[in-house]
């Protein structure tokens, strides 16, 4: 029964603190993943466990033994490491490299025995590297070489396996194959595994628990659904994500949405009339450009409504699949009046949302510039026997502007924005 206990370790590179009071423990048969941004200390955790970087404070125990008081060879009998990459300035064959994994178990003056070779062969067959056993590692591809290194780690017959982004160099099929193998060994051979990941989804798929690391400190520990929350990911990576259980695999799925661009905030505020997903890309683009965005009326559960929620865009909303009520309509008009520009996306219009076009008419009359994003398919989108088309034609006749794409829209808005700023300054000057 092997356990790995890390208690209160602080690690330094020179005077820079890389790990700050890191605590966790792992049991045999457990697969722990470490996630965190670049420079958060993920690899440092592995380096301290593998005795490369001695912590200034705290202890690391295998069972009851402090690893820094054990002999190098004793540690190597129990613990194997698969690094991110291995330098190849030598021309050993794959088999020779894998057999080096037997080193901690071999007496100094013995050559490799048949048993050693059988163990090496077995791990090479598991990692599908036996077929190029006698090829020099210098001639292998990155993925093949990484599989050789994993075979070497298995040949050490360790109880603890440390992996530093083990599948970074592998294609998707190899990634899954190797991770499946490691997971299998973890369960069948009761291997204790600590692995650093870059890929949330890979970590969520294979790890029993996940450690989220930021600035050398543990932010969260636990099962993936407890640790990989949208909030935690935003806190650590400052990226907005959707976290969902994947409908087919059942694994947690983390989908990055955006990292907010540090665009200068613009003065114009834009209201969107949209629906059915036609407004989603516009919302993101306008936010990225630095405009303030509102939207409505949108039905709850509508794609655009969900996007708006995710992007924290204020909306007027209506119950799912219901026509717009008078109340929502008035709230929407109020919202539109606060905006400087109104944009109508090419959504479908039916009896339920025709009120939105009515609102647009009112807005245009009140002097709010209105822009129609058109794709030339009004007839196909009109489920109101021409009422919507009428509205749109009227809007155009009364001075609404038509643009054909989001980029044209942005271009036009930028012109308005500049004009607006000029006016603002001119008013101030005299």
């Amino acid at each position: 029964m092997v356990t790995l206990r890390i208690s209160g370790i602080d690690c330094y590179y020179g005077s820079i603190k890389a790990l700050d009071n890191v605590n966790f423990s792992v049991r045999e048969g457990e697969f722990v993943g470490i996630l965190g941004p670049n420079g958060s200390g993920k690899t440092t955790v592995l380096r301290s466990i593998s005795r490369v970087l001695k912590p200034h404070k705290g202890t690391i125990l295998i069972g009851d033994e402090n690893i820094y008081e054990m002999k190098t060879v004793e540690v190597a009998k129990q613990l194997a490491v698969v690094p991110q990459s291995t330098p190849v300035t030598f021309d050993f064959t794959s088999l020779e490299v894998v057999l080096m994994g037997r080193n901690p178990h071999m007496p100094r003056f013995k050559m490799e025995s048949k048993e050693d070779l059988a163990i090496a062969r077995n791990s090479m067959e598991l990692t599908r590297t036996w077929e190029f056993a006698d090829r020099p590692v210098t001639e292998l591809s990155g993925g093949e070489r990484q599989r050789v290194i994993i075979a070497r780690a298995l040949t050490q017959e360790p109880q603890i396996l440390l992996l530093d982004e083990p599948t970074t160099h592998l294609d998707i099929s190899n990634q899954l194959e190797i991770m499946d193998l490691i997971k299998h060994l973890c369960k069948t051979k009761k291997l204790l595994i600590v692995a650093v990941f870059h890929d949330f989804n890979l970590a969520a798929r294979y790890c029993d628990s996940i450690i989220l690391l930021n600035d050398g400190k543990i932010v969260a520990v636990g099962e993936s659904n407890e640790t990989l929350t949208s909030q935690n990911v935003r806190k650590v990576f400052s990226v907005d994500t959707i976290v969902k259980k994947h409908p087919i695999t059942g694994f947690l799925h983390v989908i990055p949405i955006s990292k907010p661009r540090n665009q200068q905030q613009k003065s114009l505020s834009i209201h969107l009339i949209s629906g059915g997903g036609t407004g989603s890309p516009v919302m993101k683009t306008l936010l990225d450009e630095g405009y303030r965005v509102t939207a409505g009326v949108l039905n709850l559960l509508d794609t655009d409504q969900e996007t708006a929620q995710l992007l924290k865009i204020p909306t007027t909303s209506e119950a799912p699949f219901s026509p717009i009520t008078e109340e929502a309509h008035r709230a929407n008009l109020k919202m539109i009046r606060k905006a400087n520009v109104l944009v109508i996306t090419p959504t479908q219009f039916g009896a339920g949302n025709l009120k939105n076009l009515n609102a647009a008419e009112t807005a245009l009359k009140e002097g709010i510039p209105t822009i129609l994003l058109e794709d030339g398919s009004i007839e196909e989108r009109d489920f109101t026997n021409g009422k919507a088309t009428n509205y749109l034609t009227k809007l155009k006749n009364n001075g609404a502007i038509t643009v054909k794409s989001t980029s044209e829209l942005v271009h036009f808005l930028d012109k308005l924005e500049n004009k607006n700023n000029k006016n603002f300054h001119q008013k101030k000057e005299p």
Partner: protein
């Protein structure tokens, strides 16, 4: 799982242990033949058979088997001039080649040679001082001030380099390399001063710097042999660890190698054998750099075979080159370093072009 039917790759793997034995036996035979050939060559014409008779006569127990006398001059030439010189060449060749293998492995750098971390500069300075200022002192009743000064200065320089490069975390190989280069340049500058003020002694200094075995005698052999035997044996004990070191220091540690201890043992051993060799031969280039590469091309990168084959090849190469150096332009002796490079480099380039295994270095 442990199938006793070996596949081809497995069978091949075990065949190589047998192959290693054959390589060592063949190279040992080649070395014996080289020695046997070299002792018959010299400015004085002595029939080969007489040479062997003289040698065998002086081997305990075997001596009685040989009958027939030979002139006492022949005996002096063979026993006091040729034999110690050939053996000294063998010992120096072994030392330089093995030290080269060790440093190339340790630094994972194909450019590494035994002189990398200051040995040559230190030894040169020591020898130059001894020659220029006629420094002389006795050592166990023997007066060999030049070798002694060379040896002491070589060790002192490496010690300096090592202690400067050392930090609390151990020794960084890259720092060691850079400090070695810096100290080398520094000592070479001092050497230049010594040469300028040395007057007529400059020719003797130049000759020493080019490397020569002309001064070899039995005392040299007896003093240097223990260093080389112990040093090479110690290095061979850690041959397997040196293999693993090629994967990188961190990985070597993960595979159970105490890398700090390994570096210490290897550096001390390589320094001792090189300094011992240099003290009696001067700075002989090429052998320590290229013999290991030649051996690597021929037998592969595994240090368990690479070390013995480099050692034997180094001895053979240096004996042959020295034999040419002392006979080609009679009665003048040319520095042996000229021939190690002149003959070795084209051969090395030929092997590089012809190699089958992909050798990065």
């Amino acid at each position: 799982m442990t199938s006793m039917n070996l596949s081809k790759a497995e069978a091949d793997y075990f065949k190589r242990f047998a192959r290693w034995k054959i390589i060592v036996i063949l190279l040992t035979l080649a070395l014996i033949l080289t020695i046997a050939f070299a002792v018959t060559i010299g400015p004085m014409q002595i029939p080969p058979l007489d040479v062997y008779k003289i040698i065998i006569k002086n081997i305990p127990f075997l001596g009685d088997l040989v009958r027939g006398g030979s002139s006492s001059i022949d005996e002096v030439v063979v026993l006091q001039v040729r034999l110690p010189r050939v053996l000294a060449a063998a010992i120096v060749g072994i030392a330089l080649a093995v030290a080269g293998v060790v440093l190339q492995g340790l630094f994972r750098n194909p450019m590494a040679d035994p002189y990398l971390i200051g040995i040559s500069a230190g030894a040169s300075l020591g020898a130059s001082l001894a020659i220029a200022f006629g420094i002389s002192f006795s050592f166990f009743g023997l007066i060999y001030s030049i070798p002694l000064m060379a040896f002491v200065f070589a060790l002192g320089t490496v010690l300096l380099v090592y202690s400067v490069a050392r930090t609390g975390q151990g020794v960084q190989m890259l720092t060691l390399l850079l400090v070695g280069i810096a100290v080398n340049s520094f000592l070479l500058a001092i050497m230049a001063i010594v040469r300028i003020v040395s007057g007529d002694a400059i020719h003797a200094i130049m000759a020493w710097l080019l490397g020569s075995l002309v001064a070899s005698n039995w005392d040299y052999v007896k003093i240097v042999l223990p260093f080389v035997v112990i040093g090479v044996a110690l290095i061979y004990v850690f041959a397997k660890d040196l293999n693993i070191m090629l994967l990188g220091e961190e990985e070597a540690r993960h595979l159970g190698v105490d890398t700090e201890r390994l570096k210490r043992i290897m550096l001390v051993s390589a320094t001792l054998i090189t300094a011992a060799a240099v003290s009696i031969s001067g700075i002989i280039g090429f052998v320590g750099l290229i013999v290991p590469h030649i051996a690597r091309i021929l037998v592969g990168p595994d240090h368990r075979i690479l070390i013995p084959s480099s050692a034997l090849a180094g001895a053979i190469v240096l004996i042959l080159c020295d034999t040419i150096a002392r006979t080609i332009v009679r009665p003048v002796e040319l520095p042996v370093g000229i021939f190690t490079s002149l003959l070795g480099c084209p051969f090395f380039i030929y092997l590089l072009r012809k190699r089958k295994r992909s050798v990065i270095w």
